[in-house]
């Protein structure tokens, strides 16, 4: 897979994640219950839990920032793009691991949107690592 293909895939993941986190921010700010495809109530419980905000900022909004950064990383060529993509995706998967722990063992509810975001960021991290190899080969 070429670096260009990886960047395209990263951009696609970033747009998907941005749409998702924008939706979750919107429902959070309006006090609405997010649509949950299965496991009725899980998304609402997680979104209404005390962990849904940090310093008054919805976690979904932080996610929006992360996806915008990931999109920028996909646009940027070479070293800077690689480093930015790695930084954002690594922060995100570590924080997603913490959020998943909260869902499983503290809140006792699973939000499919959060799981989807964790999957996207894990894929972005793997692509970022592969991208490092491609950039190194070029040197």
């Amino acid at each position: 897979m070429s670096e260009r293909s990886i960047r395209v895939l990263l951009a696609v993941l970033a747009v998907a994640g941005l749409l998702m986190s924008t939706y979750l921010t919107w429902v959070h700010l309006l006090g609405l219950a997010p649509v949950c495809l299965a496991g009725h109530g899980g998304c609402e419980t997680v979104q209404s839990s005390r962990y849904a905000e940090i310093l008054g900022v919805p976690v979904a909004t932080l996610g929006m920032g992360g996806y915008v950064g990931l999109f920028l990383a996909a646009l940027l060529r070479g070293e800077i793009g690689v480093l930015l993509g790695l930084f954002i995706s690594l922060v995100s998967i570590l924080f997603s691991a913490y959020l998943t722990y909260l869902e499983l063992f503290v809140i006792y509810a699973i939000c499919q949107w959060c799981v989807s975001s964790a999957v996207i960021m894990t894929a972005a991290f793997i692509l970022s690592v592969v991208r490092i190899g491609r950039v190194r080969k070029k040197r």
Binding site: T45, S48, R50, L55, V59, L86, Y108, R139
Partner: protein
Amino acid sequence: MIKQRFSWLLSIVVVCAVIVAALLVWLSQTTSGGSEEDIRQLLADIPQNGTTLGSEDAPVTIYLYEDLQCPVCARFARDTFPDLVKSYVEPGEVKVVSETLAVIGPDSVPAAKAAVSAGEQNRYWEYSMLFFLNQGRENSGYVTDEFLTNIAEKTQGLDVNQWNQARESDAVQSELDSAQASAQDEGVEATPTLVVSGPSGTSKLVGAVPVSSIATAIEEVQTS
């Protein structure tokens, strides 16, 4: 040389990412939605009588229809209720009466009984807010005796043996029935619903409304 520089940059990025993630976790743990101590401080020195919080002489009464399993009620308790208490209940302008419902499902019943039983010792509000702080997914079976007793033990000033006996008492069941009947009379269709009642009438609000909406409703029912 260039490869070595890139490796160094990668290492720095990884270390920075771990630090930022740890900072986010720390902020999430320390700043999210108040702590048990915040709840105790909020309710300290405010008169409680059963499920009523605030001075009996307050000119405005807010009837709060809530189900302890309701996630939006938990959000209201966390985001709006503290401001409501500080701005209106503490100065004696408003009293809040919880009309505790058990409508969401099987887990709502023991939860409501437990909270209302704490109200028998005038500890309803601390108990219900601690419950909301530890709320799980609706009807997932998390409302066990152990869960409820754990909250009772954290509720300051609550005699746990007395609370345990009250849980199956007729008085508590009667209070729940009364709240249910009141909800039907008021046409309550969702939780939380706030019925703001004052000298000039009543105003109904639904959902985790901000304190500004409640302030407007209070003004409406106060003006004659």
